[in-house]
């Protein structure tokens, strides 16, 4: 258990250090995720305890965003002027982004499948 938590933290730390050393605009934990992905590939399987600890964290990922979300209260006054314009802009542009991304990827998957001679994916 502690080992699994330790390895997650170590990979996060590695990510944080690497991001700062290279000055790239990616959060340290995301780089940590990619590093752990590489390590798992080398290792060839997911250790049981690591799997358990990760499931526990990921099953409650929404909860982990609550403290940052509550932070909105500090800046609520910023929304006072033009709040409906902001809300409309955020809602509509997010929906457009979601739809365009999904349709683009769907279309490209189809193009790729055709280019590869119509092989079907499992």
């Amino acid at each position: 258990m502690i080992n699994a938590l330790l390895s997650l933290l170590v990979f996060q730390l590695l990510g944080e250090v690497l991001v700062r050393a290279m000055g790239v605009p990616i959060p340290g934990p995301v780089v940590g995720m990619l590093l752990l992905f590489g390590a798992l590939k080398l290792h060839g399987r997911v250790p049981d305890t690591l799997h358990k600890v990760s499931e526990a964290l990921l099953n409650n990922l929404s909860l982990l965003f609550v403290p940052a979300g509550v932070g909105v209260m500090v800046h609520l006054n910023l929304l006072r002027t033009g709040w409906w314009q902001l809300l409309v802009t955020v809602i509509v542009s997010t929906l457009i982004t979601l739809v365009v991304t999904a349709l683009t990827m769907q279309g490209l998957v189809r193009v790729q499948r055709r280019a590869r001679g119509g092989q079907t994916d499992g």
Binding site: A68, V70, H75, L98, V100
Partner: protein, 240 residues
């Protein structure tokens, strides 16, 4: 309040335990409530929890700093949880190889769409220039978005609020919108939610499907980098 009540409140107001327990308790309550009424999108547990906690803090005149003293223990786990996304991603590795190129294409198009749509819509409804600049990086995770806003002359704290709102939109209606599109491939569903709505979209995707969650986490990470690079040239192109 009687003497002992005041003493108890004085103790509780000083310990991080109170807001830590309250945050987890309210979240569990919100989840139970949402489940009981059939989990309608607008009764999203995260949204309910945030609204309830903000109301509670305002009612008890508690500052965000005091609240965060307790809530930081939950907040801290975001880091290791993000690293843990490597596990579902590893388990979906075969799928990852299949959709790698389409994903990269969708990444660039989706990232550009997010920036352009926000700025053009904002301009259409008459928002000021600093606000438009704050809107541009709203699809990416908070720390990067705030950094980008600062660098391009936006208002980082406004960006932080817009980022959370953007995440809520994806978390609340993402599933329904993708259903309407008849998009069934979990890797595509997740990728779109993570790209458009960063961490909150990822958390929601993960609740719906493990593979979707893995691809959402990947899209969130990649979009953070791509959007940071695309915002300055796209704003110039849009005449800002």
């Amino acid at each position: 309040m009687g003497e002992p009540m005041i003493e108890i409140w004085v103790y509780l107001a000083q310990t991080p335990l109170l807001w830590l327990v309250t945050t987890i308790g309210v979240y569990q309550g919100a989840q139970a409530l949402s489940r009981r009424v059939g989990a309608p999108p607008l009764l999203n547990p995260v949204l309910l929890t945030i609204v309830a906690l903000v109301s509670l803090l305002l009612l008890t005149a508690t500052s965000y700093e005091v609240y965060f003293d307790g809530a930081q223990f939950i907040h801290f786990l975001l880091g290791p949880a993000t690293v843990a996304l490597a596990i579902p991603l590893y388990q979906a590795e075969r799928k990852l190889r299949q959709v790698l190129l389409p994903g990269l294409g969708a990444l660039v198009i989706g990232a550009a769409t997010g920036i352009i749509a926000a700025v053009l819509l904002g301009r259409l409804v008459g928002l000021d220039e600093p606000v438009l600049r704050s809107l541009a990086p709203k699809s990416i995770t908070t720390p990067i978005a705030m950094g980008v806003a600062e660098a391009i002359g936006g208002l980082p704290s406004l960006t932080a609020v817009l980022v959370i709102l953007t995440g809520m939109v994806g978390a609340i209606v993402g599933r329904e919108v993708l259903d309407l599109l008849r998009c069934r491939d979990q890797s595509i569903r997740g990728f779109a939610m993570g790209l458009a709505s960063h961490g909150l979209g990822t958390a929601r995707a993960l609740q719906l499907d493990r593979e979707a969650g893995a691809f959402a986490g990947l899209a969130m990470g990649l979009n953070g980098a791509i959007t940071a690079m695309l915002v300055p040239p796209l704003l110039r192109w849009l005449g800002l």
